[in-house]
């Protein structure tokens, strides 16, 4: 029995349950009463025109913005009072629309920072370097290297992240996000700025991550990618949920067509 099957068997409850989420920016509703839930182990595409509120939704799920109304239930816990780093520890990781790696640090170090919530060496550990600190460091480096191996970046492990081409940086963000052992991974336009070959590879990587049992939500403008890898698609338009369903259902939805074709 694979990890994924196990997780699916264990939990009937959704990993993420968004209930009536509303966010106002100066009186304008950036999010208007959005509700949906995501089952463990699936890839959920989040699509919609620019300004539909996709990134705002991500920022609320990850705890960067507090919603004005509604709530987010993650893995059975209400996240209202949780800080960003607590949510990461609980199992939510994300990547950014515009690459936000730590440019002067090596790829390996970037992934190690991604492991921050799963390691514990602080000031005294750093100064004294007790045996447990060295053991933790060694295990962390090994895990980081295996993640770079998994994402195909191991050859660049010791190069500064800022020196890499955009395609590799985007992949590196996924590696860094995976380092925190997330249950839910939010990908904000992972294919933006990638060429056709890189997008193809990205699709394979996302499938491989899914096979590891990680639930994913992705914002994506590349429709063939979004429709190709998503099990479920949610469409946002002007801060409202327009439709939800399988990729096939969405492609035949008239309201969605109207929104996209400027109806």
């Amino acid at each position: 029995m694979t990890n994924q099957d196990l997780r699916q068997a264990q939990s009937q409850q959704p990993i993420l349950d968004v209930q009536g989420l509303t966010k106002l920016f100066g009186g304008v509703k950036a999010q208007d009463n959005i509700s949906f839930s995501i089952e463990p182990g699936i890839v959920c595409g989040l699509i919609g025109p620019n300004g539909a509120g996709k990134t705002t939704l991500f920022n609320m799920i990850t705890g960067i913005y507090a919603p004005d109304n509604g709530q987010v239930i993650f893995n059975g816990r209400n996240t209202r009072k949780m800080a960003v780093h607590q949510l990461v520890k609980a199992g939510i990781a994300r990547t950014f629309q515009h690459v936000e790696l730590f440019g002067s640090m090596t790829l390996l170090e970037n992934v190690l920072v991604g492991m921050h919530v799963r390691t514990r060496c602080g000031f005294w550990g750093a100064v004294t370097r007790f045996p447990w600190v060295n053991r933790e460091e060694k295990a962390a480096v090994e895990k980081a290297e295996s993640l770079l191996e998994f994402t195909g970046l191991i050859d660049d492990a010791h190069k500064p992240a800022g020196d890499l081409p955009v395609g590799r940086q985007k992949t590196a963000e996924i590696a860094r996000a995976l380092a925190s052992d997330p249950l839910l991974l939010l990908l904000d336009e992972p294919a933006a700025g990638l060429n056709a070959v890189e997008t193809e590879n990205l699709g394979q990587l996302i499938r491989a991550v899914k096979d590891r049992g990680v639930t994913m939500m992705l914002v994506e403008h590349d429709m063939s990618l979004a429709m190709g890898i998503s099990d479920k698609v949610i469409v946002l338009d002007q801060g409202r949920k327009l439709a939800q369903g399988t990729p096939r259902e969405i492609q035949n939805d008239e309201a969605v067509m109207a929104a996209y074709l400027g109806g």
Binding site: E100, F102, T106, L112, G125
Partner: protein, 321 residues
């Protein structure tokens, strides 16, 4: 893998050169005036090292750092001078006190974003200085505190001169090693991550507020150690050694030396300690020349001395090839 090894061995080489230079200077120099200047450079390096961790890596400016320097100095003066406590015990109390005060000051101000710590510490520094000045029954007031005992450890007596030079620089070396260890650890990586991109650091799970607070407390501890060494070196302290201008001077050391660089702290402290001594010859024009030198450094080496010298070195190597 080779890159990483060479970085580590380069750090070792740098430390060895530093150690050799300190020992050589200490043994060769006989002139007490020069020894005294170099001891002051060491004390200022400690101040700059702590502040550099805070400014260069955590991206927070403290405009009242002289307060911690003063707390260290006055704590040991009062405890060992007035109450005849062992100076080494006083050191522990001084550092503990400074760290506690930093925690109390830093907790609310670091929660706010931007330059709130700068503003908060500015006010804090002034309040502490007023306390030194006005609480005369304990601190000696504006005329200063007299009667600080000389440091002793077993048969060793640290009077000004070579012994104090070596004591101070041994502490500087220890502080450099500690900073290096921090920067290479999980905590240091998180700090450098904040330096590169605070939002991303937050998003990958770094508790940035807490980390900044920790670094602030660490900088306060180094400041208190520097104050302790200063008090037992000059044996007389007065409030103006810990005023606002001293805080500004510390910030200048960090910026001139080069932010986010351990050797930058040393260079900045060296330049800002030496310049006033060298410029004595200019008499009343001293401050003008002093300002001019700082301006020239900032114009031609905007990233500070460390980066500037490295750039010159790389450029000259390229030219030769």
């Amino acid at each position: 893998m080779s890159d990483k090894l060479s970085a580590r061995s380069r750090a070792r080489i740098e430390n060895s050169i530093f150690l050799a230079a300190v020992i050589l200077l200490g043994l060769v120099t006989e002139n007490t005036y020069y020894l005294q200047i170099m001891t002051f450079i060491g004390i200022n390096t400690l101040l700059a090292l702590g502040l550099n961790m805070l400014m260069g890596y955590a991206g927070q400016v403290s405009l009242g750092h002289a307060a911690f320097y003063g707390i260290g100095a006055y704590a040991t003066a009062i405890l060992s001078g007035t109450y005849a406590l062992s100076p080494w015990l006083a050191l522990i109390c001084a550092v503990g006190g400074a760290v506690l005060v930093a925690f109390i000051v830093g907790l609310p101000t670091l929660r706010l974003s931007g330059y709130y710590l700068g503003m908060g510490t500015l006010g804090f520094g002034m309040i502490v200085n007023i306390l030194f000045r006005e609480w005369s029954s304990v601190t000696g007031g504006a005329s200063g505190f007299v009667g600080i005992p000389v440091l002793e450890a077993g048969p060793m007596v640290f009077m000004s001169g070579k012994s104090y030079f070596f004591l101070v620089w041994a502490v500087v070396l220890a502080a450099i090693l500690i900073c290096r260890r921090i920067l290479r650890s999980r905590m240091g990586r998180a700090l450098r991550a904040i330096h590169d991109g605070e939002n991303a650091a937050l998003a990958v799970g770094v508790n940035t507020h807490y980390l900044k607070l920790k670094v602030f407390m660490f900088a306060a501890a180094l400041g208190a150690v520097a104050g302790f060494l200063y008090a037992h070196f000059v044996l007389f302290i007065s409030p103006e050694s810990f005023g606002f201008m001293v805080s500004v001077k510390m910030v200048t050391m960090v910026v001139i030396g080069g932010m986010a660089s351990i050797w930058g702290a040393l260079l900045g402290a060296g330049l800002l300690t030496l310049l006033p001594e060298v410029l004595h010859g200019f008499a009343e024009y001293e401050m003008i020349v002093f300002g001019l030198v700082l301006m020239l450094v900032m114009i031609f080496m905007p990233q500070g001395l460390t980066r500037g010298f490295l750039d010159i070195y790389h450029a000259s190597r390229k030219k030769r090839q």
